[in-house]
Symmetry: C2
Subunit: 145 residues, 2 copies
DNA sequence: ACGTTACAGTTGAGACCGCAAGCATTCCCT
DNA sequence: AGGGAATGCTTGCGGTCTCAACTGTAACGT
């Protein structure tokens, strides 16, 4: 039952480290990175904003603000939907894909280092499996290599 | 290696739920709650602000702002240190202890429900043990019962 | 057709938090 | 004893995110 508190703190301590690194080296927030990553695996490298909101567990307003930055940086662009004018797609640009590629390897290496420093292989596998069962946690894959 | 992403999302989804509940029912943030909890287990129900900062993984400025709220609410009070003028203690008041007690049972029940809904006993135990190995994660105990 | 409802997205206000800079106090070294 | 480094704490600023309210579009029922 204390697992939640531990989860909370583990998140806080690991995230700050990784997020600072990502920001300094590639100018991306964790959510920026995750957005590019999710888009890169989507059909046609694009996703409805609302779908993005669901996958990243952000509110629509959070998505609007985050994409603002990615759009002005030219990493993501808006695309209208011809059949439903309410919908706007977020489309990963070529520049965005390259930026993701660049950030991906070093970021993943950092994560790997951070975890492997403290956990062994079995613990990692078991942790991953357990966390998968929690709500809102859907698998994502690496964009590296 | 995707464990980190899962950790991040698991945190986001569970925290928002629990934090909203705590805020609505008892007017406390997660960090407010954790602060009261940590103080309640401390010697003399008090802790140096800097020590609080370390245990809650917040910066000193975060602590200052958070305690502001708890102090005006009368749940925590300032105490000077006679031997070192730099130090200020945060002391849990009687009111604070009661408020913690009130919040604790329902909050813990929520956590328990949330986790048990998705994980079995073994998974919980293993998760807890694994997370303990990550940096910055120190055990805390319930204040309920 | 028309009104109601649901949905996608945006915007303003406000909460929370970290960083950098600053102040006061204490420690340590010579 | 005196000067510099370290420590505890606070404050201004900026970033990120949510919530509530709003606009425009689509779907549905009558």
């Amino acid at each position: 039952m204390h697992a939640f508190t531990r989860l909370l703190r583990a998140h806080a301590s690991t995230t700050r480290l990784l997020s600072a690194e990502l920001l300094e080296q590639h100018g991306l927030t964790i959510n920026d990175y995750e957005t590019l990553l999710v888009l890169s695996h989507a059909d046609g490298q694009r996703l409805k904003r609302i779908e993005l909101s669901r996958q990243l567990l952000l509110t629509p307003s959070g998505i609007t603000r985050m994409l603002e930055g990615l759009e002005t940086a030219g990493l993501v662009e808006r695309q209208a939907c011809p059949t439903d004018l309410r919908i706007t797609y977020a489309h990963l640009t070529e520049t965005g894909a390259q930026r993701l590629q660049a950030a991906s390897c070093s970021h993943i290496a950092s994560i790997k280092t951070l975890f492997e420093e403290h956990l062994d292989e079995n613990e990692l596998a078991s942790l991953s499996k357990t966390l998968d069962k929690l709500p809102g946690v859907t698998g994502t894959h690496s964009a590296c290599g």
